[in-house]
Symmetry: C3
Subunit: 266 residues, 3 copies
């Protein structure tokens, strides 16, 4: 199976998918840079007067509810509708939906405007959306991984989409098939935006490949291995330097590096 | 006294305070990353439909008026009220209040919704709020430090809170006690966001400690010493490289490094 | 002629022009940092309740329509009027105006509130504004340079301003005079914000010099040569590291480095 993940990365490099992002202001620059480093073309088009048309022209739509201004909320309804009309993949990042009720309400409303292709969150967020008890602090999951796969499958079946939960072990499932990714490093939690960047990559990979399950696994594997390599680079144990290496390593990611993947298919 | 500043830093590391920030879009990523590097948990929750409830759940609230959209202004009123109901510390960064009348008006109105715990600005901003003549250019203070301590004490007494003015010498006072911090480096003025990052750190420290006067001094000392160490690191004389080292040095900050502190207690 | 470009850079360093920016949230931090590195004083003042007065106090106004919220659109009308009343230079960056009709409509409306001093875009954007057929993908130009100078001259004459199109060769013209800049590097297209940073620099240079044609050429030359030097620095072939070096090299830019300029005057 792992060679299929490599093909997913190659497709991003070869097709330069156009990814629209309506995302939070904290990490929007990181999301744009990581998409460029992966070979995609980011367009952070979020104005409510623009998104309905634009979302019909792109290869994937990334929605991140981290800093959901009133205008962004409106834009998301319009963009989900636009993307749905063309069958463009929609990737949802349900940031802080466990801590802030409005996030969850907005997501449930968005779901009535169109079909999500992938929901990618940390485990606390996924559990909160799935209606399972979750431990969160602000935007962070304090969950240790219990019931992770079950929660993901439950949400995948309920929403009819691929669900991914990041954490010490990343989980990806479409409700039937699943995989566990054991790569990554703890330092990814000591910078802001690792989750957002992973979500943006998922959108990039879905924009270049038809199989959302494999695309999501490939994107998360790319992120996790880039994190390992960034930490191994000089000074990479410190968060400022690590962030710089992370973008570098995404740009260098290739078949050889992806062989570090410790992926378990279930 | 200095050992108490070290205790303040340790408390941040040990308690992971949750810091809500409603801050400008220019440096919001830097503020999140420096809080993480210091050991706090940042949550840039600023949507007007979310802040009233969220500000009641956090350990500190950081308000920065740098890019004050209409929605952010509304959010600040709601968040100040929410934080006040729970007695959560509120840290105000009055960016550009000397150059832009609306900033000052908004701050005076915010003050009627709840009690600030700390006001931290550059000296020009503090003087402008205190009603003392100030020299400013846009967001920068051109003030040389005359009447600094007097202006800070005046504002501290008027607002009943801790006041800190950053500059060549940082000043911290609660209206009675005061301290002067002689650390820091001029290169901090050649990157954007040094003031914002310092303000975010003040919020982080206040979220982990009860004494706002000592917390503010400890946060500014941490920032200034990290700046010195970042400049001494390879390439640290250049602003792009300096920024990377600055986050690294915040993550490394410890008792040994804080001994560089040149703090004068008045 | 090239010595005049060097004088333009020196004037930025000597006069610290105050540059107001109403710009996109993706790269606003990069724009502030590059202005500081060049010697200017950035003020990202964009709130609709502040901009009319503030735009009358600055040395230049930079408008970038990349993420044009409803409030930003309103702010731009107000700021263009304010800057015009004082004769302050207005620099427009028409991001994605070829892909998104609302961008172009807003720009045409802005033009009725005041006179642009410089329009700086990639060639696809310039062609789209000039009404010439353009090849674009989201925010990127896919144009190879055909009819570049003619399109720039057409737009310069129509809008009565300096027009600059960035690309493999940068083009600057005021409708009569023109120059071509052959410096730069492809890696500038692999980070987000190179175009925005170039636009911000144009504003900084126009804020310190009276000749908008020469200022624009000097700013783009500074950006392109800094890109070359950043790529030549250790690790500069990778986008994360390159970004750090880019800011460093802007801060180091001097007469000696500018001699690398390959400028053709027409």
């Amino acid at each position: 199976m792992n060679h299929k993940l490599i093909e997913c990365l190659k497709a991003v490099r070869q097709t330069t998918p156009l990814v629209q992002a309506i995302t939070n202001y904290v990490t929007v620059n990181d999301c744009a840079n990581i998409l460029l480093a992966a070979g995609a073309s980011p367009a952070m088009c979020e104005a409510s007067d623009e998104v309905f048309e634009f979302s019909q022209m792109v290869n994937a739509l990334y929605l991140n509810v981290g800093t959901l201004t009133k205008e962004q909320e409106m834009s998301m309804y319009l963009a989900v509708r636009g993307a749905s009309l063309k069958g463009n993949p929609i990737i949802l990042d349900p940031v802080a939906c466990g801590a802030i009720p409005r996030k969850k309400e907005t997501i449930e409303r968005l779901h009535k405007f169109g079909q999500f292709t992938v929901i990618k969150g940390n485990l606390g967020e996924i559990k909160a959306l799935a209606g399972v008890e979750a431990k969160v602090r602000g935007v962070d999951s304090l969950d240790e991984g219990e019931d992770g796969l079950e929660s993901c499958k439950k949400l995948a079946q309920e929403y009819g989409c691929v669900v991914a939960a990041t954490g010490k072990t990343d989980i990806v499932t479409n409700g039937q098939r699943a995989c566990l990714i054991e790569n990554g490093t703890e330092i990814l939690t000591r910078i802001t935006g690792a989750g957002c960047m992973a979500g943006a990559l998922v959108a990039g990979f879905c924009g270049a490949n038809n199989d959302a399950f494999l695309s999501t696994a490939a994107a998360l594997l790319t992120m996790s291995i880039a994190g390992e390599l960034a930490q191994e680079a000089p000074g990479g144990d410190l968060p400022g330097t690590f962030r710089v290496h992370l973008i570098d390593q995404i740009s260098l990611m290739d078949e050889e590096a992806l062989k570090r993947g410790r992926v378990q298919w279930l």
